[in-house]
Amino acid sequence: MKYTTTIILRDKKYEVKAGSTLLSALNKLEILPESIICVRDGELITEDTILKDGETIKLVSVISGG
């Protein structure tokens, strides 16, 4: 059986293994935690959050220019 969490960053969608921390998922996806904030169900969450099966985490990129 496979447990997955969906992570969305801009128009990209990633499927990662549930059960580990958000930080380890970010590391695997090579996304710098410094450059994003993480939102679940409209709430801001920290990187030590354990990912649950079936949930979706939205990443908001924080770097802006101009």
Binding site: L32, P33, E34, S35, I36, I37, V39, E43, L44, I45, T46, E47, D48, V60, V62, I63, S64, G65, G66
Partner: protein, 309 residues
């Protein structure tokens, strides 16, 4: 992770401070810290009139929100540059800025470059060939000139911009890579009023970009998420990414880089040369702003060139 203040669930972890905070405590902490830096750096007082340069992005809208919450007299200035590039960048950022101003009953000045000068920014940059393929240097000149003009015409004491620590660290990195002495001497969160120009301040210079994004999100501020189409691939974005890689390995690195620069400066590391030849300042005959040229200032020369095109 737990909130350092109340022990509840943290919404954000700020590794450089070794501190996690919940939503409510973060939303209280950030304006309090801003107030602390406004006082520490003597940026302005409650009886001064502040003009906030608002772009519709997270930082400037958050700054306006914070100054409002802290009880300062802060009006906004939006400069409509006419950047479209297929997704109405300027129009959308203006809409969001006006929406924010309306919701909080704030006073907003809107300057429209195309309406006032007959040409939008991308066209102006093409006509005057200032930037080869990017209009950024023209844009900087236009914004500076118009901010100074509005501040003077409406009698504002202070001009405030939403630059955060990542912006400042990236600028410092760029100036250091080139040992650009003139810029290093001038880079500071407060530039005193000079030659009839308003004081310039950056009240958010101590916050990470990610804290400002978190603030905007938690406060429910609707801001323009896409960056300016011309910012893509810019060196400042590259430097921010580099500094974030460093920050990831060494929490606090980018903060120390900038804050220790300020300390070193205070101790005289970047003192103005004593024998400096101070360029004599003149008054531009067209717009009345100070300039080192004995004729029109660079803004007015550019506008003249554009009208002759």
């Amino acid at each position: 992770m737990k909130c350092k203040k109340c022990g509840g669930k943290a919404a954000i972890n700020m590794r450089q401070h070794n501190m996690g905070l919940c939503k409510d405590d973060f939303l209280q902490w950030l304006p309090e810290q801003t107030q602390k830096f406004i006082e520490k750096y003597k940026m302005f007082t409650p009886d001064e009139k502040i003009l906030v340069a608002v772009s519709g992005g997270k930082d400037s809208l958050a700054l306006w929100d914070i100054l409002r919450i802290l009880g300062y007299q802060a009006d906004g200035l939006y400069i409509a540059l006419g950047i479209d590039e297929g997704f109405s960048y300027s129009a959308e950022s203006q809409r969001l800025t006006e929406k924010f101003a309306n919701e909080h009953d704030l006073n907003l000045h809107v300057v429209n470059i195309a309406a006032d000068y007959g040409t939008d920014l991308p066209m102006l940059a093409k006509k005057t060939k200032r930037g080869r393929d990017k209009p950024c240097s023209t844009c900087g000149l236009v914004k500076r000139h118009e901010m100074n003009r509005l501040a003077r015409d409406f009698g504002y004491d202070v001009l405030a911009t939403g630059h955060n620590l990542d912006d400042e660290a990236a600028t410092l990195f760029s100036n250091t890579l080139q040992w650009n002495g003139d810029y290093l001497i001038r880079q500071h969160p407060v530039l005193p009023s000079k030659d009839g120009l308003a004081r310039k301040v950056k009240p958010l210079f101590h916050f990470y970009e990610r804290e400002m994004a978190a603030y905007a999100l938690l406060r429910g501020i609707e801001y323009i998420y896409d960056e300016c189409p011309f910012a893509e691939g810019s060196t400042s974005t590259q430097y921010k990414e580099l500094l974030n890689q460093l920050e990831n390995q060494h929490p606090g690195a980018k903060m120390h880089f900038f804050v220790k620069f300020l300390t070193a400066k205070k101790k005289g590391l970047f003192a103005e040369p004593t024998t400096e030849i101070v360029p004599e300042l003149h008054i531009c005959p067209t717009c009345g702003q100070p300039t080192s040229a004995q004729e029109n200032c660079s803004f007015c020369r550019m506008m003249k060139k554009s009208s002759e095109w």
